[in-house]
Amino acid sequence: MKLFSLGHLVAYSIRLSCVRAISYRRDLIADLALSLIGPASALVGLIMIFSQTDQLGGWSFGEALVLLGMFHVLGGFKAALLDPWLGWFPVIAVRDGALDVFLLRPGSPPVLGMLALIRCAVLVQSAFGAVTATVGLTAAGERVSASSAVLCAVALVVGCFVMFFFAKGLAALSLFAASLQLDVFFGSVWQFGRYPVTVYSDPVRVVLTVVLPVGALSVLPAEFLLGQFRYDHFGISVTVATVVMLVSWSLWRSGIRRYSGVAA
């Protein structure tokens, strides 16, 4: 699909999502409330932990708040775009055969599927994350330079790509085993990202950085925002993003080849 028409499609899908959101008032209120209560409870959890300690894995309270903020900024993207699709995919698309419809549309089936199910209201979680990060920066006494902000934005974009390809790879696995429903698993692994990766023991840290990279995605943008230019971390992230992209691409390709539809 050409870039221009993809942009056009994204814009139209967001518009439709907004129209859908406002036509169901109760769901809209639920979306908005839940997008705030969830992160707020995570904040309470962090405050509780810091009532017992003054540092977590080498991170002060302010720094951990910045990290939690980035976790929610990325979490908003996940909740708006990836979660609805990942929940829909194994059941409706694979088991009930709705994937047929998407396979016959001119464009990437995961992208078209996500755009069709996008839920814009929950992006308020990202806004909450941004506020949390700002409060964290103040508490940590950090001033953000322009270069830090740009690098943080780049890291967030890389993070979104990693999450997209990770979700695509997980969905592709359900093409091999139709009973596999990995949205819940994705959600659980994702929770690891709310704390600094240095909290975990070495093997767990390696798993969260390399094998299940969504567990450590919030670290890099938080580090950049805090002025810690860890280019080695950036290098690892870009490498991991590339590997995730390639693995997910090949999983999807062979999964689709295996896909057999319901009425076959």
Binding site: L16, L103, P106, L112, S260
Partner: protein, 328 residues
Amino acid sequence: MPVESSGITADRLCREFDVPVRGSGVGEGLRFLLNRSYRRVTAVTDLNFSISRGEVVGLIGPNGAGKTTTMKLLTGVLSPSAGYVTVDGYTPSRREPNHLKNIAFIRGGQPLGSPPELTVLDVLHYNRILYGVARSDFDRAYDQLDSWLGLRRIADRQVRALSLGERMRAGLATQLVYSPKYLFLDEPTTGLDLVVAASFREHMRRYVQEHDATVILTSHHMADVQQLCSRVLVIDDGELRYDGALSGLNQLRSAVKVIRAELSEPLTGRALGLRSFWVEQSVARMLVEPTDIPRVTDLLLDYGATDVSIEDPPLEIVLADLFRKSEP
């Protein structure tokens, strides 16, 4: 990239599936959890046919014959296990965007594939952008679809609130709005009443004429096939049994005839030694081999039947007979 050939070609097309099998009992359940057994099932085998541009072809056969698998292979939802297919020179399973913009796979009773909260017009506009249809072409197609399907009356309605007939019209509109040249219609009139089904056939006939479209249609309703298709492919147990003109199916009648008789007293098929026998408002119809006709007519007259006549069987009966003969 497409090769230089229009129309549809299937060459030694096969598709197999591995389906899991399990015995009953608690132990079997546990064993199945740890180690699954599969059985290989052949859905279609060695299909060979070609369809020229602009032809309308019926693909018919009993349930489980392999019709839907064939349609999925032709559209590219499934890849063949062996053999190959081309549609307008493209290999469907590659799902190239230019090919996908050229085809539509319309399945009866299938959801529209869009969120139910959207209106019909939302879905149409979405497809306009998705299929890269120019605004002027869209407006033209929309007007045309409106005159066929009464689209404007349902355009502002949410998909979830449409009746079955309206959903069919909306589904058809969203698939035809980008003017596909190849239509794959899989049981398109399933669940529709006679009036709506007849109007569907009329829309299709006009679309085919105006767009010089190529159509493959599967249907259990013989009226669909008889009114739209000049040629039929009969498929049974995954194999092609017949490929030719609809009228040519008469050659396969294998000399079966229908005897019609008005009954003066209740009568069963068993009394006449016949399996295919049915009665409607005291008029009985039965399927009879020609050599058996004298015996059956004599017996009918003995039972006091009047107005006994011999007819050619309708197409449904011919096909049922054809498929029964192919059973082992």
